[in-house]
């Protein structure tokens, strides 16, 4: 392995150590351990921001195809209470790729 490969691996390992391993292994801060809500609400707060990041970054990168793809996804999500993840994902992706091809 080259020096660049080793440095790249070490760099990402250090990032994982700081953002994933240390927070998971270190004791929970006292102010958080007293909050029952932390475990229930924190995942939703993180996911919400992930969803916003994914949607906005896709739309910024390819405005029309991503907007149409995400609109299909939102429509299927709102129309069907019990939507199949694979089917919804497949149709939204199909709309995205079809728009990319047709442009």
């Amino acid at each position: 392995m080259s020096r660049e490969e080793i440095l790249g691996i070490v760099l990402l390992m250090c990032v994982s150590l700081i953002v994933r391993i240390v927070p998971a292994l270190a004791p929970l801060p006292a102010f958080l351990s007293k909050q029952d809500k932390w475990e229930k609400i924190a995942p939703i707060a993180v996911l919400l921001n992930l969803g916003i990041y994914c949607t906005l970054s896709e739309i910024q990168s390819q405005p029309l195809p991503a907007s149409i793809g995400m609109a299909v996804l939102a429509a299927l999500f709102l129309a069907f209470r019990r939507c199949s993840i694979l089917l919804t994902l497949g149709l939204a992706s199909l709309a995205f790729f079809a728009t990319v091809m047709l442009r």
């Binding site: 790249g8 391993i21 998971a24 229930k40 609400i41 993180v46 996911l47 921001n49 990319v100």
Partner: protein, 230 residues
């Protein structure tokens, strides 16, 4: 609900994630090979530096001749979102130091999205390992197949980030729906306020800096909307 470990159930649960992430792992393998990385180097980066977006950013920064220290700072900033995720996802995973270390390292956005408070420790570990394994196998396949893929096709493959983004958005929506079921009126208001606040922070602070303020604002608004509700 049956909380016993079942490999079949776990594979079923992570199948949509595998189908959307493995091609991106494959694409990463192509990118690594095109940067003259060896098979061992690319595979080890996917195992030991398992980071998805961080791995792509590493090569993009190298293309721009950004130094190692600055690259580290930028990738760290992008991955800051894992801190609250790791804290929230760590408590249910009890066991030896090595088990917790491995489970923490293999946590990714998509697995975090499908883990529920009732998900058992072994189900969590199995799903995390399955995704990390498929990502790495995708990378290996990408490095091996690099010569079979023309440059123009590889460029178009760059667009396959959409299914993964759509999947994360859908998983976020599903989790948000659960929240509004628990807190019908105030929950919806809290969610709307949290979405608005995070979107504003995204545009004001940018996609790299908005993570921690966005998560903090969402947590605060969602906590307020769930306050005093049984």
């Amino acid at each position: 609900m049956d909380h016993r470990f079942s490999l079949h159930r776990n594979v079923q649960q992570v199948l949509p994630l595998i189908l959307s992430l493995t091609p991106i792992g494959f694409l990463f393998g192509i990118v690594a090979a095109r940067h003259d990385w060896s098979l061992a180097g690319a595979a080890l980066l996917s195992i030991l530096g398992f980071s998805g977006s961080g791995q792509f950013v590493l090569f993009s920064l190298k293309d721009q001749n950004v130094g190692w220290l600055l690259s580290f700072g930028i990738i760290l900033l992008i991955n800051m979102r894992y801190i609250p995720m790791s804290i929230a996802a760590a408590r249910p995973v009890k066991g030896s130091f090595l088990t917790r270390l491995m489970a923490a390292h293999c946590l990714c956005d998509e697995v975090f999205a499908i883990e529920r408070p009732e998900t058992s420790k072994w189900d969590r570990i199995a799903c995390r390992l399955l995704i990390a394994l498929c990502w790495t196998l995708g990378t290996i396949a990408g490095v091996v197949c690099v010569d079979l893929i023309p440059e123009s096709v590889a460029e178009k493959l760059g667009r396959i980030s959409f299914p993964a983004s759509a999947l994360l958005t859908l998983l976020a929506l599903l989790r948000a729906r659960d929240f509004t079921t628990l807190f019908p009126v105030r929950g919806k208001l809290g969610l709307l306020a949290a979405i608005l606040a995070s979107a504003v922070l995204y545009f004001v602070l940018g996609p790299r800096l908005f993570w921690l303020p966005g998560i903090a604002a969402s947590f605060l608004l969602l906590s307020l909307s769930a306050k005093n509700v049984p």
